[in-house]
Symmetry: C2
Subunit: 187 residues, 2 copies
DNA sequence: TCCTGCTATGCAACGAGTTGCATAGCAAGG
DNA sequence: CCTTGCTATGCAACTCGTTGCATAGCAGGA
């Protein structure tokens, strides 16, 4: 179970509250891991009582206080141990693929709108990734020729993975649309 | 929740027992949906008591009897209704991406072996898909120019999606390996 | 003033998914 | 004969993930 580890990594990149983590899981981390605030608060509570993370009460003005979490020694060790052990290739769950195969027993053409909707979601996300890449990793921001920064480089390669995934999906959804079009009424 | 619907689609493609379904979920269906025999038996029981599927006891020689399930009217209706309603784009969970970003706080080069292992798993799966494509959708098996068979065409487009996914993953893992190599000891 | 909306945290209940274990018949090999 | 292994089905316990709801302070607009 990697939610623990996803949270640890995020807190190592930058300490923050449960709420802030939930927001990150809607953005950057959300590109490869989803979690609701409920899961996050529950895991934070458990990791704190296990001594994996430290809490610090931060009073704020103009908004409610927050608890800022940061990774403690045991948390770092747990992450390190997890990094060292092999994980299984992810188990896949593509609702849309189920729908496409199921469409053979219904009206295939009726699925076109749904597929187009998904295609839009993927082009939107691709645009979002590309904007993020230009902002955070664009040439202008890197005029110095210092030593490579591991954190930055590794974030970039993960983002490139997201970009490759979205491009692949868009191309495939075009393939799906072309296939569905062949079954349109009258043919 | 689409496990119900994945099972319905599979039973429409071909009626079978819980055990046979479990095997399909290790093969063709498993390319886009995973499920253990426990989940399958549980769902079959519920769908049967809801009248979505019919059972038929099939005595066998040389092996235990089996219960063969097939889709009944209400099951077909339920599938049809589900096909008609929009679904959310899948939520992603990539353990490997978490590990890669986490590696910045450990030894990045130590991840190389793990990434290579995943790369091998993906090349194996790609080879498997391509063999299946050649077997089931190769030119020799389609010398007739009749009307397009929806079931077959849609299975093929889903398989092409799997192939595109594996190719994308292999290319990305090469990118990851090149990135990790830059952090190797001494650099 | 009241309503809406954002930050911030949390409980309780439920449903889905995982893991360990159990049974039972039959085949094949040592 | 005994063990291993495959087909075939299932229970029980547990963990993980989702959903609905609740609280509470403060900001901004109608």
């Amino acid at each position: 179970m990697a939610l623990d580890h996803a949270i640890l990594v995020s807190l190592l990149e930058k300490p923050g509250s449960g709420y802030e983590l939930a927001r990150r899981f809607e953005r950057s981390i959300g590109y490869f891991w989803t979690a609701t605030h409920q899961q996050i608060y529950r895991v934070l509570k458990r990791m704190e009582s296990d001594g994996w993370i430290d809490v610090r009460d931060v009073p704020q003005q103009g908004r409610p206080d927050k608890k800022e979490y940061s990774v403690a020694g045991p948390g770092r060790d747990a992450l390190s141990a997890w990094l060292g052990e092999p994980i299984e290739p992810e188990s896949v769950r593509h609702d849309l693929a189920v729908k496409i195969r199921g469409a053979a027993f219904d009206d295939p053409a009726a699925l076109i709108g749904e597929v187009e909707r998904h295609r839009r979601a993927h082009t939107d996300r691709l645009a979002h990734y590309l904007a993020g890449e230009a902002r955070d990793f664009g040439e202008p921001g890197r005029p110095f020729d210092g030593p490579p920064d591991a954190e930055r480089e590794l974030q970039h390669v993960v983002l490139r993975g997201g970009i490759a995934y979205e491009r692949m999906m868009i191309a495939w959804l075009d393939d799906v649309l072309a296939t569905l079009a062949r079954f349109e009424a009258g043919h």
